[in-house]
Point group: C2
Chain length 480, copies 2
């Protein structure tokens, strides 16, 4: 039996031996009272050192699998895994409405998926080849040597204090007044938004939002059973007349969700004056704002535009949800909510009940990375790269794709409106030619957007952009 | 104005200068059209190199705060932060029932808190001084050099594949049949349990549980509006008669939540035969089991006892929630759910809608740590330490505390029943003598347990254990 062990270089030999014997015991191949080969015998059999076998046996004894009797030998313990008759449950009938809807609204499961070899414009993830891994390593090694034990043990629900302080300064520099406000660290924007909705809404509540908007936000609003009121978009953001109308026609609107910078999917940046206008209208109607600070950092030119949270000054009507995920290290899942102190304190308890806290290791390393100036350095680099790519992509659209309108003014994605062509049909045909992108309708809360699509370009080379857009253009031309 | 900049060694000088100027602009101290000192002037003023000032100005230009006009100078852009009249919301009146309950049930906010200088037996966190940081560093450096770019970018909701595979083997070695089963990686046990309840229960559902049980689990069941049916405990776990009775008297019980090993708070290990008995009863009544694999690894002696998930064999009636948090690196927040494949697939969508995925960096480093054998090595060390501490703590209780009963048989905490003495009163008096522990009533779903308390000992030295227990004992003696 022991000659079956296939030893490999993946992990220490003594652990491989231990795992093998555990498995044999669990499967009933080695039974209560049976004697194992002596350490000397087994070491010969496997051609490994005797100490290796001794180490394996010691671990097995520690775990209660075997009993080493001095002078007599090594015996299997009474493990008692009495396998019972099978019990089969049809879980798909046991799950609740929320779980069913989560799966139904999961675009990872219901949309065409990327296959190897394709040119994909689906993703709006950053280009990982631009990550400065050496700086990240340095941040890790610094932090771990300063307080490795501490950051690997339990932390606090609100977050890692030095990171919170750093982000408060970051928000001050954006013009935000932080008096009577506080920050809660979350697992990215998605958790931030889910915590806000979980704390502030009830099924059936009305919520205002730009239409189209971020698909994950739509999914979450639907999962919370909210009644989504979409405001149509002009080229500079929300249509003010539509906003006023919808507010007039809908009672008790609970919240508004807005992406003022590099709006997803359109890429529109709402100008300062309009931000003030929208703020004033919502304030007058007492509709608190959830501001999504999406890609605010990816400014390629023009004046700095302050977030709506800055306009609100010492007021507390704006909840700001920030994240660097779309630019830097999404794998870490770090985001934050800046809001009224009391509200943050309540949401801290909600966060604690959800998952205790966000990884303290990640927060601490991220803090060090910001503090050592690596983020600014990185931002400078990616802005240059993305700006160039963005300009090139615009040129390629103009050259190859018969569009009606290209929205937005930057960021790492483009949103295109076609001349009455169904983008899902375009996608279906492009897919057979190994090109994939995101159909625009998933960003709409109603039946609109069938003639739009989104092109994420951060991870594509220029030649991929050119080839891919040409394919898309050819398909569209073949349909008209 | 610029002479105010207090430069320090914490972060790069050019970033400090940039932040200072951004703050001045945001506060309106530097206004549209104003001219900044030339790079030469400012470098002299601040006694830094001119390149430092140039780097700061470049970043400010990138962010749209200033405009560098060749040959003319550097000017403040039109930033338009028009602060509006304050808007004040009383958020405590806006939050919903769930958020209010989260705060009300948050023991971090409602129980006596540790203060510096106290001897604390509140925590059941591991002793961070036992962490093998060097092994962890090695795991990080290996993984990051192999695939740093990849693990810092977006991953998958289900988890990091190599870690899932490793945990599947780990479960096989515990005797679990994994055919038609799968694993979902979560942010620790708390998220695992929350995802399960979120997917499988509706408000008002009945759920069975040991009484007392893990306080966080009680909190979550309450937050989900469940009707908790407590089964009283004997010294070897659930009282079978009570279990049968409660099942008879309650219709449609949705789920059972059980901690068979080192039960929290009692430390009881349910024997194999009893596990089978409980399994059979629940199966017969079609009540699926959530098995909490709490501290299963901390076995100090005796035969290995297989989890209930192993008894269920090829059946799918058991959902196993695992985590190493109570032993290793809780700061990382990594746990997992092993369950029926279809159920995992649905919960994967729920997980995605909550926070996309658990940190891929943490998962990858954790995987490497397991793979390189560090976990086994660490476990060997901590078992020795904790076992010794546990034995010593038992001795101290016997010596100093007039108890009625000490529950359990290992782990890193003790659960003590007093002779009709109110443990909250004991706590109140101990607190003034700088000793703190967890009153037992928070683990009960009813009004019981007022004469019990839990003592976590992992992080205390022997002399702290002796001194602290003596204080507790003296207080109790003074009350009788």
């Amino acid at each position: 039996m022991f000659l079956d062990i296939k030893l490999n270089g993946d992990s220490p030999i003594y652990i491989q031996i231990k795992n093998y014997i555990e498995e044999m015991i669990s499967k009933g191949m080695l039974q209560y009272g049976e004697r194992l080969p002596s350490t000397r015998e087994l070491s010969k059999m496997l051609k490994v050192s005797r100490n290796t076998v001794i180490a394996a046996y010691e671990l097995l004894q520690d775990d209660g699998y075997i009993n080493i009797v001095k002078g007599k030998g090594t015996f299997i313990n009474d493990i008692h895994i009495s396998k019972q008759e099978n019990w089969y449950i049809d879980w798909s009938k046991k799950v609740n409405k929320y779980a069913i809807n989560s799966e139904k609204l999961d675009i990872m499961k219901n949309e065409l998926q990327y296959k190897k070899g394709m040119i994909s414009f689906k993703s709006i993830s950053p280009d990982e080849n631009l990550f400065n891994i050496e700086d990240f390593k340095r941040a890790f090694l610094n932090r771990i040597s300063l307080e490795g034990n501490r950051i690997l043990n339990y932390g606090y629900a609100k977050g890692y204090k030095p990171l919170i302080d750093e982000l408060l300064i970051y928000m001050i520099n954006k013009g935000v007044d932080i008096e009577h406000k506080d920050i809660l660290i979350t697992n990215g924007f998605t958790e931030a938004f889910d915590l806000i909705l979980s704390s502030l809404t009830n099924e059936g509540d009305n919520i205002l939002t730009e239409n189209p908007t971020h698909n994950t936000a739509i999914k979450l609003m639907k999962l919370h059973g909210l009644n989504i009121i979409g405001i149509s978009m002009k080229t500079d953001g929300m249509d003010i007349d539509d906003l006023l109308n919808k507010i007039k026609n809908n009672d008790r609107i609970r919240l508004a969700y807005i992406i003022p910078s590099y709006h997803n999917p359109t890429g529109i940046v709402m100008p300062s004056q309009k931000r003030v206008q929208v703020y004033d209208i919502l304030k007058k109607n007492n509709i608190p704002v959830i501001e999504d600070g999406f890609n605010e950092e990816l400014r390629y030119g023009g004046s700095h535009i302050a977030p709506i949270a800055a306009i609100s000054d010492k007021g507390n009507g704006v909840i700001y949800a920030g994240s660097f995920s779309k630019i830097l290290f999404p794998g870490l899942r770090i985001g934050w909510i800046l809001a009224d102190k009391k509200l943050i304190s309540i949401m801290e308890s909600v966060k604690r009940s959800r998952n205790i806290h966000t990884s303290f290791l990640d927060q601490a390393v991220f803090y060090e990375y910001l503090k050592q100036g690596s983020f600014e350095k990185y931002l400078k680099k990616v802005k240059r790269e993305y700006k160039e790519k963005y300009k090139f992509a615009i040129e390629c659209i103009k050259k190859y794709i018969p569009y009606k309108y290209i929205y937005g003014e930057g960021g790492i994605h483009l949103f295109v409106k076609l001349k009455g062509i169904n983008s899902r049909e375009v996608l279906k045909r492009c897919y057979t030619k190994n090109v994939i992108f995101t159909p625009g309708d998933i960003f709409y809360i109603d039946d609109k957007g069938r003639d739009t699509f989104r092109l994420g370009i951060a991870r594509n080379s220029k030649s991929e952009i050119e080839d891919g857009f040409k394919t898309i253009g050819d398909v569209i031309k073949s349909m008209t």
